[in-house]
Symmetry: C2
Subunit: 363 residues, 2 copies
DNA sequence: GGTTAGCACTCAGGAGGGCTGAGTGCTAAC
DNA sequence: GTTAGCACTCAGCCCTCCTGAGTGCTAACC
């Protein structure tokens, strides 16, 4: 598998030409085409010999005897790793991007925007996995009375998620009580993982607060609804649907169904992405899921500070425009990281000892 | 167009049978099939005569001379209006639904959930249009200091949207100032439409607050990012992609691209939906957009109190399972309305005169 | 008059056959 | 090592034929 491909420069040129042409046309590439279209200075016959060698090495294959060559997954891999020139994002696209600033009202909005821009830049269907709630920790909690018997709870996490819950109180509550509860919650829950809120808090309930136990349970229970796992932000599925390789009856449907199985796609993205900043590519059979054998994924992580929050990816046929896709994913992951840092990147734990000792305006 | 179709009961039975069979099989229905499969007590020849009449009336058509009949858009219309038995949701499905409670952490979550459940119930691709921001009015605004130089602004609207903005202050600000600003904002902006915040607020800036003008502009500018219109929550596009009528090369792609043009789809849904509670159906050529000629949409509105917030819809081929789709859309619109009312349906303006006079816990 | 059997007719879709052209591998000459 | 020439392969297209589902029409039946 991990063969060491030592190719003569000429073979490299030819392989590069084949892949480039195939990415463009989606048609098997023949020796005559290569000789005419690319400036190789070789006759078709010579090219044929080289193509035959490349096929023997497992870098190319023939769909049938009398057809041209198409790249194999190994061929694409070599291309991505060593042959492809990592072309910078074209200026026009970059300018276009400036006109579409990455702004969102909240995290969810931002991620959806990021998916959309990535899709537009790469020309591929794009996906963004949101931060795992299980990894989020409470940053602070605020309770605000709204009317006589309702309160608004605002919970901010260290990963930018904000949870707003409007809750009806079981009975009117004095402001003192509310302050007491809020302070209790902040003390107990600060830096606690989001998926352990209820137990953590309720284990400590005692004395004066015991009578609020049910209320607390209801309040905290709302923060993390028992949804079936995280969702996935997907954009421009039509890009996938218009690829000629998926025009067969049923293929589009199966692929889209796969994308809609969000927990599975999230697992796939997790499996592919690195922990660091670099872009990772999974080509065809390298994918952990059999149904993705004809697809490639390009993934990168986005971060807040030095913590990886989630992944951003594009998916397309193995015959995807890798350099463009990689550039798009890389750029957008950086922009998303920057946007998050600007929006949510407060200095660590700035609330320090102030919490609960300050008084603020009513509301 | 608005013909008065007076059909004999027998013709009605036959039309109903044709449509039911076609919805099931997606194949043109012939007289022999009808005679054998459905308990009409008629020979194929007789049925042929009736079919011929129904075709003359414009309710059926033949794809080609030697094929069976398929319903025309008018035929579907008659079916939906008068022939179809409005079957109740099957019990199993209803039970299934109970196990998937409609819960969400916030509005966006809730709408996405609603789209998903509608799709699962109806077997069609589902869409939910969120409340128009332009129609939302400010319910209350709260500013909370977070650390030395950051504040968290929470803005609650009367349509359930909550906007959280973490903003860095230009310079450290005394708590008094913050209270002043918050009170000012609440007084000025309560019940003001969300898309006029900046002007409304800034026109009134004066005296003591004048120096905060830039800060206020930045703060309020964040509430409504200049996104290209509202987004649309879509679920299970694969249902559309697996319909046999769209298996032609390119059709799926074109349809999905259409769905991705969110502003246009929102306009379409707006155009179809009623202002009241009832479910509306747009069949094939009744759709305002030419590219939707082969599709039907079933829409209903969801509400908060007596205000229409948005629409919920399913889209499928004109050969869709109307009774199931209508039941699903109706049920889910009701559930969504109920969920919203529970989450955000506070009594009107409960904050009354309290605002700004109360003191609450620090945060 | 409504219903039905019988019959001739139509036509999409599949199967089979031949042609074309793009592409190959091999060999021999340069 | 490179190239020209040649025989060979085979997917895709076109044409034709055949089949079967389905029709409309007519005449007989109840």
């Amino acid at each position: 598998m991990e063969r060491d491909y030592r190719l003569t420069p000429r073979k490299q040129d030819i392989l590069r030409a084949v892949i480039r042409d195939y990415i463009l046309t989606a048609e098997p590439v023949g020796s005559r085409t290569l000789s005419k279209k690319y400036d190789l200075g070789l006759s078709p016959a010579t090219i044929r010999n080289e193509l035959s060698d490349l096929e023997d090495e497992g870098l190319l294959r023939q769909p049938h005897t009398s057809a041209g060559r198409i790249p194999s997954d190994h061929g694409y891999r070599l291309f991505v790793d060593t042959l492809m020139e990592r072309e910078a994002m074209p200026d026009e696209r970059r300018n276009e991007l400036e006109r579409w600033p990455l702004r969102g009202e909240d995290l969810s909005d931002l991620l959806q925007q990021a998916a959309k821009l990535t899709a537009l830049l790469s020309g591929c269907t794009a996906m963004v996995r949101p931060p795992k709630r299980a990894n989020s920790r409470v940053k602070f909690i605020q309770l605000t009375p709204v009317g006589e018997q309702d309160i608004l709870m605002v919970l901010l996490t260290d990963q930018g998620q904000v949870s707003n819950q409007l809750v009806r109180l079981p009975s009117p509550m004095a402001l003192d009580e509310l302050v007491l509860i809020a302070n209790f919650l902040n003390e107990q829950l600060r830096d606690k993982p989001l998926d352990q809120l209820t137990e953590t808090a309720l284990n400590e309930v005692n004395g004066q607060l015991a009578s609020y136990q049910d209320f607390l349970r209801a309040l905290l229970g709302r923060v993390q609804p028992p949804s079936e796992g995280e969702r996935l932000y997907v954009s421009h599925q039509s890009y996938l649907a218009t690829q000629p390789e998926f025009s067969d009856v049923g293929k589009v449907g199966r692929l889209l169904s796969l994308l809609e199985r969000e927990p599975m796609m999230i697992r796939v993205m997790d499996a592919i992405a690195s922990n660091g900043a670099e872009v990772r590519v999974a080509i065809g059979s390298e994918n952990p899921v059999p149904d993705l054998q004809e697809c490639s994924l390009v993934t990168a992580t986005y971060r807040l500070g030095d913590r990886v929050l989630g992944e951003l990816a594009v998916i397309g046929p193995t015959r995807m425009h890798y350099s463009q896709a990689i550039a798009a994913v890389e750029l957008m992951a950086d922009r998303l990281t920057a946007a998050l840092t600007e929006l949510y990147g407060l200095e660590s734990s700035p609330l320090g000892g102030h919490l609960g000792r300050r008084r603020t305006q009513g509301g």
